[in-house]
């Protein structure tokens, strides 16, 4: 186990690091957008939309991410063009976004539900309109409760982006496999990968922990 295994391959790791950052950023954005749409459907008074979003959440939440990634990247291209032309990177982002959207939806939904009904009733009895009730009373309180869970989802998403390695997309884990094969020094190669993951997950974890404590005190 030698330090040079990591330092000599720094460019390889950095390429993977950038890959993981890209997957995380795009996956997080996608899951936030889709998750918000799904959450809106789940709290809406429209039965068919509620049912559709519920089915989506239950299926995606219970489908392992590697299975989803492989199904998308190797299975769906069999449907022919235009689906056939998508790159593995696109499939990796899609898998990460589709999977985590289910969790984002649930976090947002329980955030809205966590606001006591009396809050909405009080706002209505003061004569606030629906829009005012939502924007001035319900949503600000819901936002507070959802920030920590969303932060946890972001950390989990960063770690889960390693799924990209299973379909051979450049990320930290995939690059590490190259280093292992090149150097025959797996321990140092894996330690290098661990270092780069910790560089991403530990600061986010500290930030989320702080937010969690702040929201806990303010309630």
């Amino acid at each position: 186990m030698q330090l040079s295994t990591v330092t000599d391959n720094l460019d390889v790791y950095l390429e993977g690091f950038v890959g993981t950052l890209k997957l995380t950023a795009l996956g997080a954005t996608g899951s936030l957008v889709l998750g918000t749409v799904l959450a809106t459907m789940r709290v809406s008074p429209v039965p068919s939309l509620r049912a559709g979003a519920t089915v989506y959440v239950e299926i995606l939440r219970n489908c392992p991410l590697p299975v989803l990634a492989v199904l998308l990247a190797f299975g769906l291209p069999k449907l022919g063009p235009p689906i056939q032309g998508l790159s593995f990177f696109t499939w990796a982002v899609l898998a990460i976004a589709l999977y985590h959207a289910a969790f984002v939806c649930e976090a947002l939904r329980s955030g809205v539900n966590s606001v006591a009904t009396g809050q909405g009733e009080a706002a209505r009895s003061l004569g606030l309109t629906f829009g005012q009730t939502m924007s001035l009373v319900v949503l600000p309180q819901a936002f507070r409760t959802v920030v920590p869970p969303l932060g946890n989802i972001l950390i989990a998403l960063t770690k889960n982006s390693a799924v990209a390695a299973t379909i051979d997309v450049t990320d930290i884990t995939n690059q590490t496999e190259f280093v292992i094969n090149d150097t025959v020094d797996p321990l140092a190669a894996l330690a290098g990968a661990a270092f780069f993951y910790l560089l991403l997950t530990l600061p986010t974890g500290l930030l989320v922990g702080r937010l969690e404590r702040r929201t806990a005190f303010s309630r």
Binding site: P47, S48, L49, P64, L79, A156, T176
Partner: protein
């Protein structure tokens, strides 16, 4: 159940009419999307009988069953080991000795911050480099255990901390040592309180066993890949794998939800949720 708006008001007659119209339109849109997807499958010839026959024949079904058994075997071993190591680490983090606290804390913080795939690769490449030769099965189980024991440790620790101090104090008062009090009084109650979270995290372990296909352990996903390649119907094989996984994990998730409901009825409050440690397994209400 009366339909209510997002903030708890029952809908009036006009609102109900609008909701009904929106429901019909929304339902048609969703069904339309589903129909387009099925049409795409059909026009690409992916719904043809011969693409499914071999996979769903007796031989095909037996292969999937073997894969599912291998998956369940690895998941069960990983859960058992993770709970054991996790309990030790939870007690370590609650220890009165600073060194023990620091060691257990480092273990937990380190391993829960790494992707489980990386730790499975450690089991596969790293352990042999350390002179420990393990089969693919154990490489997978050890990798999963490293990650999940850290999560279980946090869940159990939250359970212990949620108990009233009086429980341990009463145990000391009747003459128990610290070890006896932890083992006989505190831990059993903590585990029973955290049972819904433990089952929910078990679902995460089960899902993560599918990373075993990366190191060539013949679990469900790997079996599906083989079956799909040998019959030239990869899409169908992966779909079957996904359906089996979703069915098994859904059943376990429902169990966790039921346990949570029972917990709430029994203790008059919702189960204790360890903040942020339950991975993506949080049992949502």
């Amino acid at each position: 159940m009366t339909t209510v708006t997002a903030y708890g008001d029952p809908l009036g007659p006009r609102g109900r009419r609008r909701a009904l119209i929106a429901s019909v339109v929304g339902g048609l849109v969703l069904l339309g999307l589903l129909a387009i997807a099925i049409g795409k499958f059909a026009s690409a010839g992916q719904l043809d009988g011969e693409r499914w026959d071999e996979l769903l024949s007796t031989d095909g079904a037996q292969a999937f069953w073997r894969g599912l058994r291998a998956t369940l075997k690895a998941a069960a071993a990983a859960v058992a080991l993770s709970v054991t190591v996790g309990t030790v680490m939870a007690l370590g983090r609650l220890s009165q000795r600073r060194v023990v606290r620091a060691l257990a804390g480092t273990y937990v913080q380190l391993f829960r911050a790494l992707p489980s795939l990386l730790l499975i690769l450690f089991g596969f490449f790293g352990l042999p480099a350390l002179g420990i030769d393990v089969s693919k099965y154990w490489a997978l189980v050890i990798g999963l255990t490293l990650y999940n024991s850290a999560i279980f440790a946090e869940v159990i620790r939250a359970g212990v901390l949620s108990l009233p101090r009086g429980q341990a104090e009463a145990a000391y008062a009747v003459g128990m040592t610290r070890g006896q009090a932890q083992r006989l009084v505190v831990l059993p109650q903590a585990v029973s309180r955290m049972l819904p979270s433990l089952v929910a995290q078990g679902v995460v372990v089960l899902k993560d066993t599918s990373y075993g296909f990366v190191i060539g352990y013949e679990e469900l996903l790997r079996t599906g890949q083989f079956a799909g390649e040998s019959t030239a119907s990869l899409l169908q094989a992966y779909l079957i794998v996904a359906i089996v996984y979703v069915a098994v994990c859904f059943a376990l998730s429902q169990l966790a939800r039921w346990l949570e409901g029972r917990q709430a009825r029994r203790y008059g409050h919702a189960a204790v949720v360890a903040p942020g440690v339950e991975d993506l397994a949080v049992v949502q209400r």
